[in-house]
Symmetry: C2
Subunit: 136 residues, 2 copies
């Protein structure tokens, strides 16, 4: 049940193009994919750092989750995603330990992963995602 690695770190940004430039010029990373996730109302840009992705998230709708987050808290680190082998087992254990789940069963996320979110109220302020790679 232990996560194998940090799958990605999600960062809420206002302007994807400006941020891509910053991550490339200052951090020396390469953007390898830009993808729109319609049901999350975001446009995302991905960078690889070792085994972890940096996922920049620009809202496509002020009423979407990232739009609301920026309105309330400003831009910055939004969530951490842990890579797990069996997402459902992880969720069942979290539930048993009193964690409030945003997703009781995994759903499809960016890059074809099965994902689920734990509620930040139960995770001490850290919005936590788990990701299972169905092609692994």
């Amino acid at each position: 049940m232990k996560p194998s690695h940090i799958e990605h770190i999600g960062i809420a940004v206002k302007n994807l193009d400006e941020q891509i430039e910053y991550y490339q010029k200052v951090l020396g990373l390469t953007c390898y994919n830009v993808e729109e996730v319609a049901d999350q109302k975001v446009k995302t840009a991905f960078f690889m750092v070792g085994e972890t992705k940096i996922e920049l998230l620009e809202s496509t709708d002020p009423e979407g989750p990232i739009g609301k987050y920026i309105e309330k808290k400003g831009v910055g680190i939004h969530h951490i995603a842990f890579a797990v082998d069996k997402a459902q087992d992880f969720l069942d254990n979290a539930d048993k330990n009193g964690v409030q789940l945003i997703d009781k069963t995994p759903r499809k996320g960016a890059e074809g992963l099965n994902i689920a979110f734990l509620h930040p109220k139960s995770t001490h302020g850290v919005l936590t995602e788990i990701c299972e790679n169905p092609n692994k």
Copy 2:
């Protein structure tokens, strides 16, 4: 100059012992070290996830950086640290690209690493640390 991996993710917490229990029980991670960093006025707990550490930070002084952060923003993800080979080269390049540096030269951080922080005003809300392992 490209970072090799995410060295750690720093998370500001109120109660280290409670949080250690959460990370062990719910996330299945193992705390391998608890360390006080006097000049940062924090007590830290470390967990390994793949090649990345989760570093929980409890303030030992309300006037310290983590105490002030929690007062202003609440608990949650505080910073990301990138592992780099040559911290000074990284800082020089960031400076050249107009990034405001908290540390113009690396200083000693937790676990004997040479560390430096970029100012979140220049990094679009993401407090960014770089770490160089002098024993590598």
